[in-house]
Amino acid sequence: MATTARSLLLSLLLCAAGAVAAAPVRQPHSEAELIAERTALVPGQANAIALRLKMEPHWHVYWKNPGDAGMPTSVAWTLPEGLAAGPIQWPAPTRIPVPPLVSYGYEDEVWLITDIQAPTSLRPGTAVKITGKADWLVCKEICLPATAALDLMLPVSTVATPDPRYVDAFARTRATLPRSADGWSLSAFARDRHYVLRVEPPPELGRSIRNLTFFPEREGMVDNAKPQTYAMRGRTAELRIPLPGQAIGETTALTGVLVAQQSSGALRAIDVDVKLGPAPPAPVESEPGAPLGLVLALGLAFAGGLILNLMPCVFPVLAIKVLGVVQQAHGDVRKLRTHGALFAAGVVLSFWAIAGLLLGLREQGAALGWGYQLQSPLVVTGLALLFFVLALNLSGVFQMGLALQSAAGALKARGAHADALLSGLVATLVATPCTAPFMGAALGYALVQPALHAMLVFTALALGMVLPYVVLCFVPALVRRLPRPGAWMESLKQVLAFPLYATVVWLVWVLGQQTGIDGAARLLAGLLAIAAGLWALGRWSPSRRPAARIASRAAAFALAVLGLALALPGQSPQASTQRETAPGWNAWSEDAVRAILARGAPVFVDFTAAWCVTCQVNKRLVLQSDEVEGRFEALGVERLRADWTNRDPAITAALEGLQRSGVPVYALYLPGRAAPILLPEVLTRRIVLDALDAARPSASVTLKPQEPT
């Protein structure tokens, strides 16, 4: 009894003393301290000692594999004889982007637990000093090394109780430690410069997992910076992990940690050590329904290509080519066919070039989706200039040997073949701004498929687009039915300028969204200068006096240069988040979605972009209609808007998580449900209201028992 009382007293004294010794050591931007889980050491038992690192906001420390840059935290223990320290138990890290790199580590605060084993020979009633020299690197944009000699006095006792102050923190930390993969079904293989990790969670983890991330055990196994993407096949997730540009060491197995989100919303980390197996044959065939998906996608792309001809950006160009055929109607049939075939080839080749460029950039890890071209103010400006010049040409302001305008003459010209090909290129170029808004979803789907499928889909689109013209060229009977050439052709041409002007108006608006009113004004000023220049060219260039011709050309050139200088965007685009949001709508972030779901409220996310016409139509006519707004309010649905007008890797990653690669996407998240409900690209009020019925209070009450964690 006496010894117990004495040791109790000693513990109390030491507790006070220990608190002093364990005071945090401050270093620039971070502080460190040692914290014992239990208030004493028990002979023959282990006590968990945590190195607690607290960082200033946005400063981070590193995991055992720091990723592209950094250094793992280490502790060198100095322990009395007989005591032994185990390894650091690393909690699951997070990806920390330091563009263009990605590191693995922890922000804000981390507890690194080490088990200290006490020998049976320790005598209760004594005390033990545990010393650890911690070395860590703390980084934000810059990195600072930090070191601290930390110690902790612990009494030796026959019993030890958890320190009530730290029970929660130890429990929280242990929840983030990777667990054994028992019960999980894992397999891995390499394909297309990616590792594919197939993951099936044990049944008790609920319907499915999502938001998978693999953290490699060592550097050089995977490309840290490129995004990992996953797809669900039933309950099995297939995570694609990019291979590194330069492999270091031989990789025969994927070793590291996998973090996934359970249907409850909680994160689960497991240890992964999976041998790379042979790649299963053609994954597409093995999945029923997948080939149909391709056929369907091809059919839709072909139909889309046909419809594209009626779009305001393409229709005038095609119409003018048809006018060329009209003039040629009784000419050489063979020449007409060659021209048609070459034009088709030009279109197909330029679609391939655009798709190839996009696939290449994605392979490089750039976070892009379809419509990405319009995320660049430079491209938007370029297209606006292009359309404006074409429109002025159609209006008759000036005449120029533009490929599309001289379609008729080109048949006789010497460079006829090159011209036909080039006019195909121009047709594609003018078609791009129309494909993005109207076919974003379909092409986005194509882009997450293997490269060959994606190219096939783009080919189908191109073929659909050229079909009407090619048919016209190849069936002389049709040509003969066309009206006779005459003055009506000039009138039609001038009328056709207006859809092009309309496209310019839209592009100026998009640029205004990207760079603000000043950027849009600069573009308009540039267009004005170019209009003046082309007018001067058209007015005096045909003049018979050489002086007038030269002067008009010089003036046109100077004004065009001035116009370009004015129009080309200088400053970088505003961040999407800086843009105003409509009342009732908040800016999207992954965290915001999680936070709202944790509160038990449903969330509706509108993935949108200024350059996406479908998105704008849906927004104005459906989402912001009084009827739908009212239902949102009545049901307490939080509304978030993810604006993809400018490049935003976080949004691109979220779209990929939803198996999409373009906007619009409408997702309704319900608390307690793993996957969101995805709405179609083209919304009606009925569709939204029906989907919202799922979020009715009655429905969420039945889901309530599954408390979000």
Binding site: P66, D68, A69, G70, M71, V98, P99, P100, L101, S103, D135, L137, C139, E141, I142, C143, L144, P145, R218, E219, G220, A225, K226, P244, G245, Q246, A247, I248, L357, L361, Q364, G365, A366, A367, L368, Y372, Q373, S376, L378, V379, T381, G382, L383, L385, L386, V389, G401, L402, A403, L422, L425, V426, L429, A560, L568, R647
Partner: protein
């Protein structure tokens, strides 16, 4: 057709702006570059054809770089191989907006006070050369043979720490690659994990 060509070029440039870091690995031809060193002299890689070249990515404020200079390790490697005719180019890709940026005058002071022995220190302030090579960290090293082929790329040694005490026991991959190549042997470790601070690109 001219204005159209200009516009499609502009469009192509706009598209290329999103490209990510490259990764020049051992076995590949070393991409040529032209920089101006802090003395104002041009440094063009192709001008050194016929010689071994070492590229060292540098940031004086990075603790991992400081480890190799405080210990004298980097200076002695620069001297040893410089004497053997190796051209050692130290490149700093830190963007001027980073607090780690040191302008040419300050960099010259650092070269002097640290007694840096490389052939030249060049600032790659727009990060273009770093991105073409795929420099991720400081220090990160490339060894290029007289034919212009990369024979080593990666971290300088096998101790990815910033502790000066770790220098003596480390296996230095750059020295090994140069020794082996100069002796006509194959380079036994042509790639190593780069370690250190992230390169401070914009």
């Amino acid at each position: 057709m001219k204005p159209l060509a200009v516009l499609s070029l502009a469009a192509a440039l706009g598209l290329a702006a999103g490209a990510a870091l490259a990764n020049v690995a051992a076995g590949q031809a070393a991409p040529d570059f032209a920089l101006t060193d802090i003395q104002g002299k041009p440094q063009k890689l192709s001008a050194y054809k016929g010689k071994y070249v070492v590229l060292e990515w540098f940031n004086s404020e990075c603790p991992f770089v400081q480890k190799h200079y405080e210990s004298g390790n980097m200076q002695s490697l620069q001297k040893k191989y410089g004497d053997k005719g190796v051209v050692w180019l130290t490149i700093n890709s830190t963007h001027p907006e980073s607090s780690n940026y040191r302008d040419p005058a300050k960099s010259a002071d650092i070269v002097k006070s640290w007694r840096i022995n490389s052939a030249a220190l060049a600032l790659d302030s727009d990060g273009k050369v770093g991105q073409v090579y795929g420099a991720r960290t400081t220090p990160q090293m490339w060894v290029i043979d007289p034919a212009g082929k990369v024979i080593f790329a990666g971290g300088i040694d096998d101790k990815p720490t910033f502790r000066t005490a770790d220098v003596p026991g480390a296996k230095n991959f750059v020295a090994a690659a140069l020794d082996e190549a100069m002796a006509g042997k194959a380079v036994s470790v042509p790639a190593a994990a780069p370690y250190g601070c992230s390169v401070k690109y914009k």
